[in-house]
């Protein structure tokens, strides 16, 4: 790997990292604006225009609060909890393809941190690790409510990971690749996976709600039963990290949903747009502008799902714990297995028939 290559990769990764943080930061603002809109009030509107400086004000407040560690808490693990939550939340953004390629002086630079042939497994592994931040923090607080919240979070995440993995298998059977770049490239134009996998999509989005601990599955921080859940004992920026990690997770899972089911940077008529741009602006500039449009489309889709998360949060009440477990184990997993069988049958028998008929 040459030095230039290395620098370009570093720049891409830093850009992806910064972008994820900025989007997560403004999700906190958007959440309160959406809540305000749904509840017929204005939301934050004091700091900056339309409250746009509110996230900065919040961060400042979090930093200047007293950094308190309970006397009987396990000090190192108490600090490690929020750090782990932040770390695992940020790791997954490395493999998401944000767009096709940039052409700079004859070189193709993919808009993706790391193109790996196990991309989706990597994401799945990182998601599986997400539970450690909560568990370690909840246990280290030395508080019964924190521990109960952490245990709930862990069992919920483990249960819904199974259904999530099973719903992914149907996608993998169709794309026959684990690479996220490859899966997006196959959904060229309007050939999105949502049209082939509506059931898989519903299972996947339900599971991602549960994995992010969002309403209606936010049992780990159910304040009527558990005070504040796993972060009862936390304050200042450590609490800020936990809350922030949730917003990063939301953005990442929205991006993954848009990549897996809604074609990522693909949009209908993209070939036509590409041709027109190349004709009028030249191969290099035209290609780059087309890529930028694709990236904008990608962010449009991802941010729509972020909005969807907020919309659901302010609309639906939370489940009871046994309902949550019944939904996960007794409904979603059988449905996901059914989906796999249907997909397998369709790939084996239906696809040759339709291809023969179309030709």
């Amino acid at each position: 790997m040459t030095l230039v290559e290395f620098l370009v990769k570093t720049a891409t990764i830093v850009a992806v990292f910064g972008l994820t943080l900025v989007i997560a930061m403004y999700s906190t603002w958007a959440e309160r604006k959406v809540a305000g809109f749904i509840q017929d009030r204005s939301g934050p509107n004091r700091a900056g225009w339309g409250g746009l400086l509110q996230p900065l004000a919040d961060a400042g407040k979090m930093f200047f609060k007293e950094d308190f560690i309970p006397a009987l808490a396990n000090k190192w693990l108490f600090i490690a909890g929020p750090s782990l939550a932040m770390l695992t939340a940020l790791l997954a953004s490395a493999v998401i393809p944000f767009g096709s390629t940039f052409r700079i002086a004859g070189h193709e630079v993919p808009l993706q941190g790391v193109e790996s042939n196990i991309g989706i497994l990597y994401v799945f592994g990182v998601v599986a690790l997400g539970v450690y931040g909560i568990m370690v923090g909840g246990w280290a607080s030395n508080n019964k409510f924190s521990l109960l919240g952490a245990i709930r979070a862990a069992s919920q995440n483990i249960s819904y990971e199974v259904a999530m993995g099973l719903s992914l298998i149907a996608i993998l059977m169709m794309s026959s690749s684990l690479s996220l770049g490859e899966i997006v490239a196959q959904q060229h134009g309007m050939n999105w996976n949502i049209f082939y996998q509506p059931l898989g999509f519903i299972i996947f989005i339900t599971c991602s709600f549960a994995e992010c601990n969002r309403v209606p599955f936010d049992l780990p921080e159910c304040e009527t039963e558990l005070v504040g859940g796993y972060h009862t004992e936390y304050g200042s920026m450590k609490l800020g990290f936990y809350l922030f990690a949730e917003y990063i997770n939301m953005f990442i899972s929205s991006a993954i949903i848009s990549v897996l089911y809604f074609g990522g940077y693909n949009y209908p008529g993209m070939d036509f747009v590409y041709e027109q741009l190349v004709k009028s602006l030249g191969t290099e500039v035209g290609h780059n502008v087309a890529t930028l449009i694709g990236t904008a489309v990608f962010f449009g889709k991802a941010l729509f799902f972020v909005f969807f998360y907020m919309w659901v949060r302010w609309t639906i009440p939370r489940f009871r714990y046994d309902q949550l477990m019944n939904l996960g184990w007794k409904k979603l997993i059988p449905l996901a297995i059914f989906n796999i069988i249907i997909t397998g049958a369709a790939v084996l028998f239906l696809k040759p028939v339709i291809t023969a008929w179309l030709n």
């Binding site: 396990n74 690790l129 245990i151």
Partner: protein, 172 residues
């Protein structure tokens, strides 16, 4: 020394250090966390050997699922009081003998193994990739693969049967 070799030594050092810490730590939660670190460094070794699928699956299955259950159980046990009375000299001696025997067996097995010399011409660097792994599993090793899955199915049915409430048992 090229970067791969130095990275290998760094990873090996971390692996052994965290594995030793698993045994040495007084707090069981710390032990579990060190064990998770050990799995991570092992995944690093898999990636160095170009076995990416194995690395990812190692993380998902061991670090992501099994260790969470470990942590789960240990968190429920009340580890505040040290149960020093259970660690008598007899158990310590027995544990040393058992561990030493395993070490001797492993060391003997290691000394007997003949590692084939590395041939750069015929060596396929893509052998650990998921495509070749899939071909290998579903072509050459189909029967063992299916038998292993049947074994897992039997284990799953057994777990469900054991976990099921019997008729008339109290709902808590």
């Amino acid at each position: 020394m090229n970067s791969a070799v130095s990275f290998f030594y760094f990873l090996s050092f971390l692996t052994i250090l965290s594995a030793v810490m698993v045994v040495v730590s007084r707090n069981p939660i710390h032990s579990v966390l060190y064990l998770i670190l050990t799995f991570f460094t092992l995944s690093g070794h898999y990636i160095l050997l170009n076995a990416q699928f194995l690395a990812a699956v190692n993380i998902i299955v061991y670090a992501g699922a099994i260790m969470v259950l470990f942590l789960f159980v240990i968190m429920f046990l009340n580890m505040k009081q040290d149960h020093e009375e259970s660690k008598t000299n007899l158990t310590k001696i027995a544990a040393t003998i058992v561990g030493g025997t395993v070490f001797v067996i492993l060391f003997g097995a290691y000394r007997k193994t003949a590692i084939e010399p590395f041939n750069p011409q015929t060596y396929d660097s893509q052998i650990g990739m998921i495509e070749s792994l899939g071909h290998m599993l579903f072509r050459d090793y189909l029967l063992p693969f299916e038998l292993a899955s049947i074994l897992l199915l039997v284990a799953m049915v057994g777990a469900v049967l054991l976990g099921k409430r019997e008729i008339g048992e109290r709902h808590f």
